[in-house]
Every structure is written in C-alpha cells, then in structure tokens.
C-alpha cells in the first residue's frame, strides 16, 4: 500500500508513523526516517517550492520503485512544501515489512532519492536575505549506492 502526500502545513511525524503502523498490523516491523530543518548555520527559515505537474508524480514513481524492489506491506512518504523554521519536520518516510531489512533499506533508498532528484527547489533565509540552495555533490554520490 502506497501513501504519498505533499503537505503545505506542518505535520506530526510521530502521529503519522503511529497511524501508518496501525494500518499494517501484520508487518513485523516499521522503519522510519524524519528529516528536520537543521537549527544551525544562522538559518532563520527554509522554503521549499515544487512544481504541481512533476513533484508528486515523481514521489509516486519513487514509491512504486521501492515497492517493486522490496517486499513491503506499505510505504509512506510525507513531504512538506512552503515555509518552515528550524526544528520543523520536512520529510517522513516509513516502510512496513515482514522482516526488518526490507523496511530499513527501502527507507534509506527513498531518502537518498528524495535528497537528490526530487523536483524541489530550496532557499534559506539567513540574516534577512534569501539564498537559493545548489545541489550537493554528496547527494548524487549517495544515489550511486543503489
């Protein structure tokens, strides 16, 4: 089961994982990762913009790829757009499976893709000025793991 959503408002990752786990009572395990706005580098706010015609469709394709590759009971991807402040959750990926390795690997795989080739554009507010964030080479190196 695939549950993929773009969210414009703050969300509660712990509650989302609990709800996801409740939907998959037969799974032997649930792995999850929560990414948050790092409270460092003088970042006052972070803004993610997306493109309606590509971003969610790209997430759905990514989820389908993970579901085809690992024996999962379910996969959850929640991703924020819009303006966030340090400490705010940006992304939640959770996977439910019969055995742990499939869920752990699927979450790692999905995060590496979300960090490198998702259709998202990011800018940070530092000292009152917005700065667009360029792609990091590490993000592309991470993709080569898969």
């Amino acid at each position: 089961m695939r549950d993929v959503r773009l969210l414009e408002a703050p969300f509660d990752p712990e509650a989302a994982v609990a709800a996801f786990a409740a939907v998959h009572p037969a799974a032997g395990g649930v792995a999850s990762f929560v990414g948050k706005v790092r409270p460092d580098d003088g970042v006052e706010a972070l803004e993610l913009s997306h493109y309606e015609r590509l971003t969610l469709a790209g997430f759905e394709t990514l989820a389908d790829t993970a579901l085809a590759r690992w024996p999962l009971d379910g996969l959850l991807i929640l991703h924020r757009t819009g303006r966030m402040t340090p400490g705010d959750p940006i992304v939640l990926v959770a996977a439910a499976s019969r055995h742990r390795r499939a869920a752990l690997e699927a979450v790692d795989f999905a995060m590496d893709h979300l960090k490198s080739d998702a259709w998202l554009w990011k800018r940070e507010l530092r000292a009152g000025t917005w700065h667009w964030i360029e792609p990091r080479s590490e993000d592309h190196t991470d993709l080569a793991r898969w």
Partner: protein, 81 residues
C-alpha cells in the same frame, strides 16, 4: 486569454520577477527566448536548465513546440528535499 503559460521554478522565478507569464502561442525555441529578456534568457540557454511541456521533460529543449493552452516549465537544477 488563451496563451502559452511559462512557469518559472526556483531562482528563475526571482529572475522573472513572477512565478509565471503568459505568452501568445505558438512558441518554438526562438520564440521562447524572445519572451525571456536578459538574465532569464541566459539562464534558459544554460545546459543545467530543463524544459517540460505539460509536465513532460524534453530531452532536447531547443525542439520545444507549444501552442496556446500549453504550459512550459523552466526547471533549474533541483536542490533536494
């Protein structure tokens, strides 16, 4: 007005001064560049900027062809989630 809608993503929206712009169609590569003054046109020519027409990424952006009612998105490199 029926037109070709240009959508600017990421820092291209800053260069354009707006998230989108309507341009009379039909539009090919030369027509698109003519509608993108100054640094925006330069950015569009850059090899890291991709084009999508109605949500489909073009393998060769100079082959772009859009009619009134179509949407062309200008996509700079993504920065990741």
């Amino acid at each position: 007005m029926v037109a070709v809608k240009l959508v600017f993503l990421g820092k291209l929206a800053d260069l354009a001064g707006a998230p989108d712009k309507d341009v009379a169609g039909p539009l090919d590569w030369a027509g698109l560049l003519a509608a993108l003054p100054g640094p925006l046109g330069e950015a569009a020519r850059g090899e890291r900027v991709k084009l999508a027409v109605n949500g489909v990424i073009l393998a060769e952006k100079t082959a772009v062809a859009a009619r009134d009612g179509d949407e062309i998105a200008l996509l700079p490199p993504v920065s990741g989630g």
